[in-house]
Symmetry: C2
Subunit: 226 residues, 2 copies
């Protein structure tokens, strides 16, 4: 049973992109390693850019599905939901996906870091469109889990994403479960502390206490209106 050239392309490209970056990886290298013809990329995908997007789309779809599924379970399990479970629903699929890809551990996440650093408009739009949907769900869930909504919830979640992405890219083949537990604990403490701080501020200065939810618009959480 031979796997289709398209799959071979996606797999090989993902691996090479993660290791060397998008621009540094050539189509000749990809096709040679995948043992397909050079023209295969342009035939099946149309262009190298389209390849990049396709490589991403595949993993993002997967990741989002798993995250939202776990989030759903967390929300069904108790009301208000457990903050720990919410964050775990966010963290665990990413770590697992990263570890599952055999060989190099942080491959997928290094790919994520690259994509994020990249200024490629097309790629960015694909990612953030998919990401924003999920992030909104998680932000709402966190709001339910905490007695007080932190003033800068968006920023806090960015912290979590950053910690997750970076530590994954760093971690070799380390224990996924342990890392997940560690990170969830770390972030829960941070979020709770921040919520506490918000309460303290709002009681000493009541004028600040109302616009807590306006801080959710920028960055990842915003939708592309077009």
């Amino acid at each position: 049973m031979k796997e289709s050239t398209l799959l071979k392309l996606l797999d090989t490209a993902e691996l090479l992109f993660a290791d060397q970056g998008f621009h540094a990886t050539t189509l000749r290298q990809i096709t040679r390693e995948a043992e397909v013809n050079l023209a295969a990329v342009n035939y099946h995908l149309g262009s190298k850019d389209a390849l990049i997007v396709a490589v991403f789309q595949r993993r993002m779809d997967d990741l989002n599905k798993q995250r939202l599924s776990l989030l759903g379970e967390a929300l069904k399990a108790s009301q208000p939901p457990s903050l720990e479970r919410i964050l775990e629903a966010f963290v665990h699929p990413a770590l697992q996906m990263s570890a599952r890809s055999s060989g190099d551990g942080g491959r997928f996440m290094r790919l994520m870091m690259r994509a994020w650093a990249e200024n490629n408009t097309r790629l960015h739009r694909v990612i953030s469109r998919q990401y924003s949907h999920v992030m909104r769900s998680f932000a709402n869930a966190v709001k339910q889990a905490l007695p007080v909504v932190p003033a800068d919830l968006r920023q806090q979640l960015d912290f979590l994403i950053g910690a997750l992405t970076y530590s994954m890219a760093e971690t070799e083949d380390s224990d996924v479960e342990q890392t997940a537990r560690s990170l969830v604990r770390f972030a829960c403490a941070g979020l709770r502390q921040s919520a506490q701080q918000t309460v303290k501020n709002s009681t000493t200065d009541p004028s600040e206490s109302e616009h807590q939810d306006q801080s959710l618009t920028p960055s990842l959480l915003q939708e592309n209106p077009a």
Copy 2:
């Protein structure tokens, strides 16, 4: 007064590298934008790779100096030192440096993310050699600040670095002070919570209580023996 071509090169290259990546940025683009001759890069630096390293070296030196200076102050101020001040010494210079570069805010940090994602051995060695030295100092400081050393201190610091890097790359021209305060609070809570957890584990299972410091070797904290 005209600034030297070398400086013009470093400045322009830094800007373009951050926006487009190392490979995507061409020497022709850099030299055109810097208004110097194409051959200037090879004359002054020797090669494009050397340019990349040079761009980095300059900022890293600066960043390390500021961080260690603030850390020194924090250690002198009180004994045991304040965890908040230690983390602030780590976070603040980076945020400030990122904001100071006029125009685009997260430029330098996006550069960092790229460099980190990059698999360039030469660049990696330069960075981690410089980084490891500083990280060791901070890890030791944190050990003094906490009543109990968390079992996975290295990982915790990676979380901090990740949160810092990512949120910086994300943040436009936002309020540096506010972000710094937020992040420090976030990470302090995480670290304290983790320390608490370590205590709990070590009392229920005393066999684990001794090798707390062995977890400091891998990743950023390790030195290159060569």
